[in-house]
Assembly symmetry: C2
Homo-oligomer: 324 residues x 2
């Protein structure tokens, strides 16, 4: 059985999830790909750090080049987060002939065209399913099973932290500040929640969705973006009286030859499929000129759900490598 | 640009939808595949029949062999419906080196192993996304983006006719017989509705879902199947009082090393994501050991939605042919 070696850049939440999935579903993954997949090296800041997961210590390295320059590594998985050095590492891996998988929406959204073109120029694969809506396989669907459609609309609840906060405000009548503190205590929101609550994370994801659905790249910073930090109990109650729920919606719609796009809180009628998407769940609503209305619903974050998307990309690349 | 020639077996609802999509999205499909796709021949009973769609009459043929034996045709699309002669035509096309796309759940469910093995033996592709849940790209997701998961459950509302009838009975308090007549008048139910209302159509789809998700083939006739023809207004009202809706559910769940499966009407609590799936819409609920709970929602039937799934399969095959 052909061996495929994988280098992991980063070993936080998503990196450990990916490692765990390869351990727990090893047999199925070998049957599916016809290959023996192994994570041979993992870039970390501190190889001696105590971890909840048992990994042979020889796999850890502090030097990215021992992964990026290793001729035995076929696939580099980037789960560091942040734009740099993540993007530079991905480009270097591609130039060294390695296919790349990433979960990093900020790095993909900021460097979409360059990452795609360097992958093509080096005849390697570049996949980023996990960068939008975690485990929900919407990017793959847009690029494959739905690719016979011209898309008319892509709208989604693509940030779990803000959806959790809005759901709790709606269901329990709590104030924004109180729910945010509670979410931080439970690990659903980060100590600095700015990227989530101000819609920046959602704008990164919308940039990627638009590039795939409409072939139109808009930098995240050019997407009109309003977060939820100004939403009050009074806003929630007023929406309720109108039979609506407030959701942070990342939305792009065709209008003639233009595309209109924004990230902002909107009132959705209770009958809208996205109105029933609660707490940390994500959903993406797609309208195509052939398929009509579709919705994809699931977990948009978390170690194993996001790891599932990373592993799906690894498997597709492994199949392609094995077929060579 | 490489030319890829397609032969259509059948030109009913799905066949005309596929033809229309290739016309209306021709430019995008050419960009996506890097190929010029053309439907060159279409098998029909009556080439001289008046049709709503304009097709050069020279494309029509009454003789299947002018498609199955045409060395210029790369892809055969089977949209005849029914088990035979559809299955024999697909096998003959594969043995003649053609990749095959079908929307035919009955033929796929009855001949799953043989169709897969003959495709593999002849080194051609065989795809059948449209056979389950119309335009919803669930089969592709199970086989690609989600393939790093061991699946625990697949449950779905996969028959639009019965979901329309149950929804109307629930929302309007109508009797089964009255809604069925109304559905037949509107074209949502066939003159002989047996395959839909007795759950046979759903059992075909569950057989295919199980084969993909669990690698376990169960013939549709071996799936315990109960339809909705015995559901009364009293049943619907009793479910309502318990805070539930009755839905015809096709369901398969892992239980240790076994899989438990059935098609039957069940009471779903209103909080279940499938309870909100109304009228002719379909949805498939998937639980994987990494991704957790996912749901795919959309149009499970209709000319363009089902044609969208057929076209997605054609595009994937065209990409593979172009890469050779």
């Amino acid at each position: 059985m052909k061996k495929i070696k994988i280098g992991l850049l980063g070993f936080g939440n998503i990196g450990t999830g990916t490692y765990r999935i390869l351990e727990m579903n090893h047999r199925k993954i070998a049957e599916t790909t016809g290959c023996e997949l192994e994570i041979t090296r993992i870039l970390v800041n501190d190889p001696s750090k105590k971890r909840e997961i048992s990994v042979p210590s020889g796999k850890f390295t502090k030097d990215p080049d021992t992964i990026l320059n290793d001729p035995e590594i076929d696939i580099v998985v980037e789960v560091l987060g942040g734009i740099e050095p993540a993007a530079s590492y991905m480009l270097k891996a591609m130039k060294n002939g390695k296919s790349v998988v990433t979960a990093n929406k900020a790095a993909v959204a900021a460097n979409f065209a360059e990452l795609k073109s360097v992958a093509a120029a080096n005849n390697v694969l570049f996949r980023f399913e996990a960068s939008v809506a975690g485990g929900i396989p919407v990017l793959n669907a847009l690029s494959t099973a739905l690719s016979g459609n011209e898309f008319e609309e892509i709208s989604g609840i693509v940030n779990g932290t803000t959806n959790y906060i809005l759901t709790q405000m709606t269901e329990n009548g709590s104030a924004y500040e109180d729910v945010l503190k509670d979410a931080q205590a439970k690990g659903f929101a980060e100590a600095d929640p700015t990227a989530d609550v101000e819609g920046i994370d959602a704008a990164n994801k919308l940039s990627i969705l638009m590039a795939l659905a409409f072939g139109k790249y808009v930098a995240p910073s050019d997407i009109p973006t309003t977060g939820i930090s100004k939403i009050t109990k009074a806003d929630i109650d007023a929406a309720k009286e109108r039979g609506c729920k407030i959701k942070l919606l990342a939305s792009a719609k065709k209008n003639g030859n233009d595309v209109e796009y924004s990230v902002k809180p909107v009132e959705l009628p209770l009958s809208h499929p996205l109105a029933g998407v609660s707490n940390e769940f994500n959903a993406v609503f797609v309208t195509g000129n052939a398929v009509g209305e579709l919705m994809f619903y699931g977990r948009g974050a978390g170690s194993l759900p996001t790891g599932s998307a990373v592993m799906g990309d690894i498997i597709e690349i492994a199949k392609a490598v094995a077929a060579k």
